[in-house]
Symmetry: C2
Subunit: 495 residues, 2 copies
Amino acid sequence: MNTFKILVATDIHLGYLEKDPVRGNDTFVTFNEILDHAQKNEVDFVLLGGDLFHDNKPSRKTVHSCLESLRKYCMGDRPVQFEILSDQAVNFHYSKFPWVNYQDENLNISIPVFSIHGNHDDPTGADALCALDILSCAGLLNHFGRSTSVEKIDISPILLRKGRTKIALYGLGAIPDERLYRMFVNKQVTMLRPKEDEDSWFNLFVIHQNRSKHGATNYIPEQFLDDFINLVVWGHEHECKIAPFQNEQQRFYISQPGSSVVTSLSPGEAVKKHIGLLHVKGKKMKMEKIALETVRTFHIEDVVLADHPDLFNPDNPNVTQAIQAFCMEKVELMLDTAERERLGNPRQPEKPIIRLRVDYAGGFEPFSVHRFSQKYMHRVANPKDIIHFFRHREQKEKKGIDLNFGKLVSRPAEGMTLRVEDLVKQYFQTAEKKVQLSLLTERGMGEAVQEFVDKEEKDAIEELVKFQLEKTQRFLKERRTDAEEEKIDEEVMFC
Amino acid sequence: MNTFKILVATDIHLGYLEKDPVRGNDTFVTFNEILDHAQKNEVDFVLLGGDLFHDNKPSRKTVHSCLESLRKYCMGDRPVQFEILSDQAVNFHYSKFPWVNYQDENLNISIPVFSIHGNHDDPTGADALCALDILSCAGLLNHFGRSTSVEKIDISPILLRKGRTKIALYGLGAIPDERLYRMFVNKQVTMLRPKEDEDSWFNLFVIHQNRSKHGATNYIPEQFLDDFINLVVWGHEHECKIAPFQNEQQRFYISQPGSSVVTSLSPGEAVKKHIGLLHVKGKKMKMEKIALETVRTFHIEDVVLADHPDLFNPDNPNVTQAIQAFCMEKVELMLDTAERERLGNPRQPEKPIIRLRVDYAGGFEPFSVHRFSQKYMHRVANPKDIIHFFRHREQKEKKGIDLNFGKLVSRPAEGMTLRVEDLVKQYFQTAEKKVQLSLLTERGMGEAVQEFVDKEEKDAIEELVKFQLEKTQRFLKERRTDAEEEKIDEEVMFC
């Protein structure tokens, strides 16, 4: 009675490829599986990390199917056993029904679903509504974590209590990464704390942003997040890394549930898909992984033709046939593996997604993908894009803008810009190597500075450097309190 | 406890002109007024005749707003006081939740809404869903009267009982008029009757089709409908003729509620908009008219310039200015009238819709509508189309295809076609004039025949004639039972 059981999932992407005759139904099947797990595990609530819908304006079928699932699985007589202590009019201020659905006397909700919006289903248009608002207006979902201002974001938590356990649930729906990055740097993002017993809460934060770096400011460095947080549920990234891992510099743990559907044919998506059953008791937590059984299997492999000089000689007139035969053999093996790995769930779709990436650098020619595809029309779910030819893979990885102070100096920049560069250099020279924040490596910082200088936002540069210095100082100070560190370690028990 | 109170409305067209900065909100305001009337009058249910939505795929805002209204007005603790005796799995067979919403134990419904779909919000796409299905899946509306076959339509009534009153509620969602016309003629439409106590039911039929004739088979003649019906609620036609009027040949009454929003600037739409409060006790009914107070006022007038030779002389070089001044005077008068007729409801929009149709036949020139519109930008809701110039109005009304047997005969038609013509002629010559069905006047029948012949659907011709002959015979037979006729008269009490 003191333990919250929370089903954690994200990036369900309802409606993805809905018109595909083979894969069209995948997202709906898995959404039902997820809700079925929630029901069978008698969770207190479901927490979604955004992108429940793939399209900003999902089709009628998708909305209909989603409503059907929510009504089927989330309504019922089982009583909800936690209470809400915060002001719901604040938590759901943009809703037409600004209270949690299970407390609505006209709705019999057994599993409340809380969700932030993702970048796929974010609010748009003059009315600033998003697809989740349809569900919330129908009383079948609680859309939270929506900030309406571009000036200032105050994240006011939903305060939940079950017995002696208290959770402060923070949410922040997707915001363009660069804007949010800037707002963090400019200290425009504030996470409000409960006034009383500040330390008695388990602080759970759900966010939907780039976690991996896609350019200098096109992601949210983990270190930007407040360190009073206990667990971050990080949506948007599709690779399943649901077992909580600790941020090296901050106190908190991060769980990245990953998507429940394969939307890009990249290695991250081939990692087995899971959702989580998060147990929170007092300030201790446990994340139980639940393997999803209805996700279409996906296998990806790379072949570098130049790595097989024994097999392929570009001068051999029959080399293309040899390559094709080799690829077919590979695909057959992948199909075998896929078949073996099927989980026996009758709802798991039969045909796997197969991708073979062929690096044909070294004078080889790609063969006809079309004819190759035809052979697998009835055996794989993605016949058209089984094979992906590319060249010089290794060179692509070297991309990135190197820090070029000379270039910066040669610009008609004002004195201040130079001073900022000095600050940056000084910062990295003096900071201890072992505590250098992975957040902003020298190169990363350089890129950030360059971007800001390009945009002539000089105040922002100062802010960035100041923010970073303060953060480092705080971090160094906290690093010393090893006792506390250990305490946190204790709090996490993985399954 | 034996009287059903039913709020009857149709063609609410939610989302009509939703992007118009002036009129965009009109449909939502009036929908709320309608549901407010339902609530205040403590009706047993709301019956809608189709086109709740203007667009087949209504915008997110429109769906959101509709859900909001339904959840706000139709949920609550007031108990629903009628029961359903029919097999709901049949009545709602295409629904994911094939039962009436107020009997769902997870929903606290105080006012069930029953609706057929109209031609604007009919099922489309591979999934054959319509916008109403979103509402019904959310548990906020009962979509009924949907036929899924194009071969045969069996209309199975929802059987309702409140105390001693029993209603058989028949519905037929919009179907292309020509197809439905053909199906009626081919006897592919069947209205199923309750097995027991067939005569003890008040038979209420809601339909959404052309009632006025738009071409030979592009409407549904009232006479096609079964004569055991007591009241037809006829949607689709926007002119409010809600007071039930009796079909001259059949037993039943028709109520045409009309739309609750002006969607075309025609005289029919200028008739004051009403909804109905239908009382049904045993087999007696009473239709109480409720004037809608939030509908934007609409005034339309015609001016025939040639009717004013004293005022306008086409040879006068200043005649255009004179016409413009005259039109302005007219518009000012219409604005005065509109202002006087405002009903004092604070939610009624201020600016009226004004249309002046100017017949400029007789050598006149139209003036610049653009400049005229500018003057009324801030005073009328439709500045861009206040003035509509047209010519030779009287000639347009003469259109229509005259019966031309010669033309038919001269076609390379088979012998049978001629025989059918003979049948038609014979039918109209022998039928008593006073019972000639307005349904198919000689000309109307001719058109119908011609259309069928054109399409070489000879079986259909025979069917049409047979259908009509049988209908007439039945009608003549029933006409004699005057006693029954009088009984029905008694059943109707207008307010």
